[in-house]
Amino acid sequence: MDPQLTSIIVPSEEIAHIEECLSRLVDDTGSDYALLLDKSGQVISSKGDGDRQDITALGALIAGVFASTREVAKLLRERDFRASFQQGVRENIFIALIEEQWILCIIFNKGTHIGLVKVLTKKATDELASVLERVRQQHKARDEVLGSSFRTSMEDTIDLLFRD
């Protein structure tokens, strides 16, 4: 099967690493929120002020905006485009790419200096890149994680929920 089509399976211990990394980033920068997304827009993990209700939509939008900005960069023949910064009145957003697969996003306010965010984000992306590398290496069998009857159960659920 095409390796590009197989799932990315993030095991519990790596999720723990990711959470630790995001927490540290939020604490050390005094940011409001840090969020790790897959490039598809799905939220892998998030840390920060309370539970955001809108996190799913936020993930979809941020990934979409970032992917668009990269397309803009390509048109401008800018090859190595890996980060973006959006400045708002209250909140700022800094977004950095991890190995073309994950997107790290930090939301912070006036109290935090962008320079600090950049430096610490760089550290965090290096760390997350090694997590991603390990995740890609392990090739855990799908059946080992999901169980062999998962697909059949999934099909039953689909037939039940997506009916006319």
Binding site: Q4, D38, S40, G64, S68, E71, R151
Partner: protein
């Protein structure tokens, strides 16, 4: 590629509705949103121009609940169809697990359908994925059009190369919902067969 979070016991899949402008992609999502149970759907997010045309994408998160202990989420997107937005389509397609290609059954739209499908093939290939193995379902939408303008199914099959590619193909009228869920079931099955 789908994302499986073992700690949170979650599975995420991304499905994109692709096709030429005005073929009925947004209508598909609107119908799904209007029909699925409340606890399954999130809000339908549409980034549209003032004239209601899709500018960036529509987004509908669906939560299928627990399957064998895994919380399963499907995220549905549409792309803006107009030729102008080619780069935006590339952005929305990023990381998709499967595509519903919505074709317009209007005879006058055949060339647009073909061009859009070609572009899709290019964009999938550019993501380093093999187009032939990528989960795709074809939807022939607007089957309610008057006979004078309605393209016969075999004609559409021929133009779009369906027989060669072995894609599931579903006739639909998205405005009334005919074929909409059949399409969603077909693409969901195609995507999970690759999990």
């Amino acid at each position: 590629m789908a994302l499986i979070n073992v700690a949170a016991r979650e599975i995420h899949c991304k499905i994109v509705y692709y096709g030429p402008g005005m073929c009925g992609k947004t209508t598909n999502l609107q119908y799904i949103h209007s029909q699925v149970p409340k606890d399954v759907k999130g809000d339908l997010l549409s980034i549209a121009t003032e004239t209601e045309r899709t500018l960036f994408f529509d987004f509908l998160p669906l939560d299928l609940g627990k399957v064998r202990g895994f919380q399963t989420r499907f995220h549905l997107y549409t792309v803006p169809g107009q030729v102008l937005y080619e780069r935006t389509r590339v952005a929305v397609l990023n990381g998709a697990d499967g595509v519903v290609f919505v074709a317009d059954s209007n005879k006058a739209k055949m060339q647009e359908n073909v061009n859009s499908l070609k572009e899709l093939a290019q964009n999938i290939t550019r993501q380093n994925k093999r187009f032939a193995e990528f989960p795709i379902v074809l939807q022939y939408n607007k089957r309610d059009l008057p006979r004078e303008v309605l393209a016969p199914v075999p004609t559409m099959d021929h133009f779009l190369g369906v027989t060669r590619m072995n894609w599931p193909r579903i006739e639909a009228v998205a405005t009334t919902g005919t074929g909409v869920f059949e399409t969603l079931r077909a693409i969901s099955r195609a995507v999970i067969s690759k999990l």
